[in-house]
């Protein structure tokens, strides 16, 4: 045993490895991504990115049925995609232990919603564990495998951003090597046709019944008695905020929150004068406590966004700390496309086209922000093409609709959207922004880029051939660093009476190691038109005095996009030495 500092994601990977996991599979999604990126570094585990979470869960189901322990990872919205296999896997049960690591994102640091995965556990009728720090993340993952095999059910381990991305001390142990039993066909359990499913539905009720006994006495659910005046029921990272803000109160710390430990809650409630519930997001625990007829104190704590110790302290009447006078009216600093980003030229062309753009999930969602503001919609992974088709059914010919989707997202859930456009006679236009990686989550390989999680080469999908094979006759390739070319091809294709796919292929700027020489503005030639500034490149600014463009040579990567949009040839190669001036004022 040794103690070390680990993030929650690192601890989940370590726990899975110690539990003898043989396969790890998932789809990248903040804040879950680093689990598999760490697990792949351990001996004896085959780790893979799947094209999406549903496929990942199905691969995991196969590993489990074949008798081995398997971890499947995703962010909260990924479970929407994987919900189909999960709900029925609960009926079928498991062979080897099957654990879902699902990372929620309260406050939506890097997500489109903040759904609470505990509701899924209750709906799918599978146990859920909620670690409150890295040490518990490691321990709970190991326990989850035991529970999965003992009770014959998949188990969800739910983290949140502050668990996944916070580091704290963990005790690491050794790996438990496990023999994989010989496969025996068991159609009654694993062929979920109605006659079998009806039997397994009843069996799931039996298994849940046993789990209901387990949660009343399992070590994950514990009472910490201090004073009797106030008791708090809490779970996950909220436990840490309660301990910090209210060090003297008694706490019922719930580590396994489905099934819900009704008797334990009742006993705890009877020991304290007032009872409160502190949990992030939905009133999952609160509603279940109230359903027992137990009176719960109103704290006014929100059901939106993440908590903090100060928020919890204030809800229980603690005085505000003394504060410095804040400095107000500061300009916001939104995230932005990197210098040299290949998406920028595409959104410049779409902006110029005045197209309605149905967007998708990835770095290119940033095309919705000023100055280009070239994206109209972004709902979920793969939605761009379905939504473009829907808008086409209602829209007018004057306002072209263009769907925009990245390479990894296209592989994730874009194929069916495009197939629908082919099938239903769409005359729409689709752009696939192929930057050769899954960029936003930190550059994971995908089936289009042809790199595996382990960093090995894989067959890279030929997007052009794939799209043609699906029945799209017009497939065009464009250089995203040439917005003029992108604009003219787009203009032709939106006017054409057929469905077309335009593939804009250039690697993510962060993958390009060799930077070209930076450019500079020829002050005499600059006519202050603002075209280059409207690209929204962090290397280009408007001089407050002269209104001319200025290029910061320390940030410019020499992509040349601004050279192509400048009408007065005012942007020229710069021989200037790269001193540290420029953006640093």
């Amino acid at each position: 045993m040794s103690r070390t500092l680990m993030s929650g994601n690192e601890a989940v990977a370590r726990g899975a490895w110690e539990a003898g996991v043989v396969v790890g599979v998932g789809y990248p999604g903040t804040p879950s991504t680093e689990v598999l990126e760490n697990l792949v570094g351990y001996e004896g585990v085959n780790c893979q990115w799947a094209p999406n979470e549903k496929v990942a869960a199905e691969v995991a189901a196969g590993v489990s049925v074949a008798g081995a322990r398997v971890l499947v990872t995703m962010k909260h919205v990924g479970l929407n995609v994987a919900a189909d296999p999960l709900f029925t896997q609960a009926y079928a049960g498991v062979g080897g232990g099957l654990v879902y690591l699902v990372a929620d994102d309260p406050s939506m640091h890097s997500s489109q919603n903040e759904q609470d995965t505990r509701n899924y556990a209750a709906a799918a009728k599978v146990p859920i564990l909620e670690p409150s720090d890295s040490a518990e993340a490691l321990e709970f993952v190991k326990r989850a495998f035991e529970i999965s095999e003992h009770y014959d059910v998949p188990v969800i381990v739910r983290t949140t951003t502050r668990i996944s991305h916070s580091k704290s001390m963990v005790e690491v142990g050794e790996r438990e090597e496990r023999d994989i039993p010989e496969y025996h066909k068991d159609a009654g359990r694993f062929v979920m046709m109605p006659a079998n499913a009806r039997v397994r539905r009843v069996d799931l009720a039996r298994r849940l019944n046993e789990l209901e006994t387990c949660v009343e006495s399992c070590p994950e659910n514990r009472v910490e008695m201090r004073g009797t005046e106030l008791g708090v029921i809490t779970s996950g990272v909220a436990y840490q905020y309660v301990r910090e803000a209210l060090p003297d109160v008694s706490v019922l710390k719930l580590g396994m929150t489905f099934p819900f430990p009704e008797a334990l809650v009742g006993e705890f409630a009877a020991k304290v004068e007032r009872l409160a519930v502190v949990e992030e997001l939905d009133p999952y625990l609160m509603l279940r406590v109230k359903a027992l007829g137990i009176e719960v104190m109103e704290t006014g704590l929100p059901q939106i966004g993440e908590y903090s110790p100060g928020l919890v302290a204030a809800a229980f009447g603690a005085p505000e700390p003394e504060l410095r006078e804040p400095i107000t009216d500061l300009p916001p600093r939104p995230p932005l496309m990197c210098p040299g980003c290949p998406h920028r030229g595409v959104f410049y062309a779409l902006h110029r086209l005045k197209a309605v753009v149905t967007g998708d999930i990835g770095c290119y969602t940033l095309g919705a922000l000023p100055p280009l503001q070239a994206v109209d919609t972004c709902i979920c992974m793969g939605a761009s093409m379905g939504m473009a088709h829907g808008m086409e059914l209602i829209g007018s010919a004057e306002k072209p609709v263009v769907a925009v989707i990245g390479d990894s997202t296209f592989a994730h859930s874009g194929l069916t959207g495009l197939l629908n456009m082919v099938y239903n006679g769409s005359k729409g236009t689709v752009m696939i922004l192929d930057n050769r990686t899954t960029a936003m989550t930190g550059h994971q390989g995908n089936p289009v880029s042809g790199v595996t999680l382990a960093g090995d080469p894989a067959p890279a999908v030929d997007l052009e051939a794939l799209v043609r094979a699906m029945g799209v006759s017009s497939v065009r390739m464009v250089n995203p660093h040439d917005p003029g070319e992108v604009y003219h091809v787009l203009k032709e294709e939106v006017a054409a009476e057929h469905l077309s796919v335009i593939v804009a292929k250039a690697p993510c700027a962060l993958l390009v190691r060799e930077k070209a020489d930076p450019f500079a503005v020829d002050e005499d030639a600059c006519v202050k038109c603002g075209r280059c500034i409207n690209l929204g490149c962090p290397a280009i600014s408007k001089d407050p005095q002269t209104s001319r463009a200025v290029i910061d040579a320390t940030i410019c990567v020499g992509c040349g996009l601004c050279v192509k949009v400048c009408k007065s040839d005012a942007i020229v190669p710069s021989g200037a030495a790269c001193d540290i001036g420029g953006r640093w004022s």
Partner: protein, 197 residues
């Protein structure tokens, strides 16, 4: 929780706050403390505001912090220093990189650059240093984050040798010398009380 020390590293995506926070956390672990570190990855990393919290002491519960609770603010950029000011205790310490990265709405001329921030932070007893200049002097412009940790180290209860060991183990092997030099230059800039609030 007065026996817990809270350090907030504030900067802009890409400035190296995550690595700097990791170094500090490991130094605190080596000194026998309970430690928690919190950071946010993902979309904000693309040039947005980012912050890393490191807390250490006998027992640390929360990894996130509230206004009025930070003992040391290490700001990698002036606007971010100003943005996080209210998080710092009145008795807290501010170490601020005197450089300025304008956000996109300012670069495009949509918003005016903020004025008077240095004066306002100076009034709050901030200590300024030019981390980029010192990083270049150390031999690597990318080591500005370690310069700032050198400056931070003066007010933190850890041996200089512990810092050097962690830095050597944590940065890319080819940059160890430059980063150790960066640490020393940042530390020297603050020694002799220059960085004391």
């Amino acid at each position: 929780m007065s026996d817990v020390t809270t350090v907030l590293l504030a900067g802009v995506g890409g400035q190296g706050t995550i690595l700097a926070g990791d170094v500090l956390a490991k130094v605190a672990v080596a000194a026998g403390h309970d430690v928690k570190l919190s950071e946010v990855h993902g979309m904000a990393q693309r040039g947005g505001s980012v912050d890393t919290v490191v807390r250490f002491g006998p027992q640390v519960f929360s990894s996130v912090v509230d206004p009025g609770t930070v003992d040391h603010l290490i700001a990698f950029e002036i606007i971010e220093a100003a943005r996080k000011l209210a998080f710092v205790k009145p008795s807290g310490r501010l170490v601020v990189n005197s450089r300025n990265i304008q956000p996109l709405p300012v670069l495009t001329g949509t918003l005016s650059p903020p004025v008077g921030l240095i004066a306002a932070l100076d009034y709050e007893r901030a200590v300024f240093l030019d981390a980029e200049e010192l990083a270049c002097e150390a031999g690597s412009p990318r080591s500005a984050n370690i310069v700032l940790m050198g400056a931070a180290s003066v007010g933190l209860p850890f041996d200089e040798e512990a810092w050097r060991e962690v830095i050597s183990a944590r940065v890319p092997p080819k940059t160890v010398d430059a980063n150790l030099k960066a640490f020393e230059l940042g530390r020297n800039a603050c020694e002799g009380g220059a960085c004391e609030a």
